[in-house]
Symmetry: D2
Subunit: 232 residues, 4 copies
């Protein structure tokens, strides 16, 4: 594992993407982050939260779990109205950032520049990728983490624990061949605790989840199940 | 004047765009906002601040001057990772938002959608435009305000007070012919107090400024000069 | 009507968008253009074709009907690899171009710049717009033509002849109030000849069609029906 | 070397990007392509030309040198108005395409999809990349060729023959470690024949040039010098 730039971040990790869900916005986002903190405290598993940029500062000042931005731009201090400055996100209390999420796809040259800017601002970079070859390409850019989303697990509804092992381990192998140091998260196919256990067994060191937690009837229960299955 | 959706916002107005300037980020942004509040209190002129999204909540909870986002996206609650949700910006304490700034140009269909979304989230919409015909086009989309940047005043360094009056009044006329209700801000050519006075005399109801204030040696002094020239 | 920059273009007009349909690509595109020419010759109605950029030159050198590009970029001669230069499209034989089609939405500032560049390259500009307020905004940019797509007619499957008259005439009124000179095309809701007649009756001067012609079992028959209903 | 999908393409290769230069548009583009054909015939060196999409068909039907598009989109037959369909480019006579040129940067996911689409349409894919790590990332996507542009050679005006050897060979090594089969072109720093010789000596199998040829006083002379230095 590379030396992650925040003491609070360690693997295995559950990273919860709040998206722009009503349940993950404003006061609701804060409540959800507190709940993540509770489960993290109880299970000793690292649980990161990725709220919207507006919610980073209020959440980071209220909880101890690590906060991630959902996106940053490859900009510096200057004339970049409406962009997300890595240093602003850092000063707001974030320790890392998602990059190139499927809902916010970026140019290759910008992903490369953002990873560099994240490093300069002491933010952990978590790049999302949509298939095995893009995951391998991303690995060459040397981010701290890659959240892989095997196409066989998206849309199909097949959970990791029921999928052919190669679906996850194949991507892990391909990524590791390009970059042994990168931390791989499983970004799709996580529904139950057994999927978490399967994902770790197949070579990933954590999971990136969203609606499964944020829009769950009982997010506490789901998170607890996920976290408990993190102890291999 | 249209009924602006916040009691705190009234014309004439000075709107200060913090961009991603070091002087307008994080703790510095907070200090600058407090300084705007001081001048607003002393002069009774409305001074709005537009910090980065990460800084909206900390600033909005610390000062009484109206806070504007620098950008919002045409999204709703849902799966829009890395986008700026109008409702999040509102809950964070903003009363309005810049749209289509020259450093964050948007698609025509998205500007239209964002103005609608801003209205739904009770945010004042301030659309930036780069010339007379684009200003007229923008007026047809019925935003609350338009910040016009006559090309004759950008880059050339010619201040409003020294420019041919038609440069500003011509755009004002064109905009008013399409939409009588929209508030027009002068978004370029403001260097000294006399430029503020000239801008108001030529039909605008306020100014949008950035480096002139944010990167000034003495922002308090500049703001005071601007605000005092607001009293026609 | 404004003075359109090609003698071959006159209203009322049927403009056929070939998209990237198999039936509208390469040799098929040429055949389809020849068929448009046949119907135009028989009915004396102006029928324009909008093939892909690669197919402009072969088609323009083979048929007499006016050829339109599907898109041009706001670029000049210079370092703009992979962009569509207005002058290249003109020299290839096109007389005009679609701009801001719903499948190729553009930034407001770019639409404005493209209309200017089209004029400089002597290309007729046909801007697509998605609702009444965007149509009015587009009118302020002074293109030669606007192809309006009333939302009430898209997706719903309601043809112009069955829709409430205001759906089309309302947009026409709004556009004409901003710009009396622009030619308005009806870009949605055209299924049968009676829709063409209704569209013209409601104030438009032509239609923009795609799959209805390109993917028809018998494109000749459909085009003939459309063209014959152009004679009010 | 991978099996390139056109018999006419072989290494070492000179690939000439016509951009939107006046000297590379329309009739001028055709003349320039004929000149490339002449030099290719005289020297037996493969010289490819990359004109604008509008000029592909006229050029491909007039000359025997291989024609490349400057850009294609990750689209299929269907509703993609204004996009460049790989199959249309192929039917127009192109044998390959540039992808992700510095003047037309693309999203990582789109580069991946375009390489796949190019393969399906039997087009040779030539992806441009801006530094060593992006080149390595690109290699993982398995295009046919990569045109590398070492940052040390762009803007600085340092030609390959005068640069430190590692500047080029370092990138070559990094790329080959990820993908041994990809053909590497040198996309910057080529001014004189000795730069061509140096580029080949350092591990590339060809060059991508633009203004150096297209805007030369005597393009024939420059091309001849480049081609003659291709024979190692």
């Amino acid at each position: 594992m590379p030396k992650l730039s925040s003491r609070r971040v360690h693997t295995p990790i559950v990273l919860v993407n709040f998206k722009t869900y009503a349940e993950g916005t404003g006061k609701n986002a804060l409540k959800l982050a507190e709940l993540c903190e509770k489960v993290s405290f109880e299970t000793k598993v690292c649980i990161g939260v990725a709220p919207q940029s507006v919610d980073i500062a209020p959440i980071a000042s209220a909880v101890t779990v690590p906060v991630f931005a959902q996106h940053i731009d490859p900009v510096t201090h200057g004339s970049f109205t409406g962009h997300v400055l890595p240093e602003a996100v850092k000063e707001g209390g974030a320790v890392g950032t998602l990059i190139n999420h499927s809902e916010r796809r970026l140019k290759l040259a910008d992903i490369d520049a953002i990873i560099t800017r994240a490093r300069e601002a002491h933010l952990i970079s978590v790049v999302c990728s949509n298939n095995a070859s893009v995951s391998a390409a991303t690995a060459a850019l040397k981010p701290d983490m890659i959240a892989v989303e095997p196409p066989e697990l998206i849309g199909t509804g097949i959970p990791v624990s029921k999928a052919k092992p190669e679906v996850v381990s194949g991507t892990v192998d391909l990524v590791k061949r390009v970059n042994r140091d990168v931390v791989i998260l499983c970004g799709a196919g996580i529904t139950h605790g057994e999927d978490v256990a399967a994902a770790l067994r197949l070579g990933t060191e954590g999971i990136l989840v969203a609606s499964g937690v944020v829009k769950a009837k009982d997010p506490y229960k789901v998170l607890l199940e996920f976290a408990e299955n993190m102890h291999k």
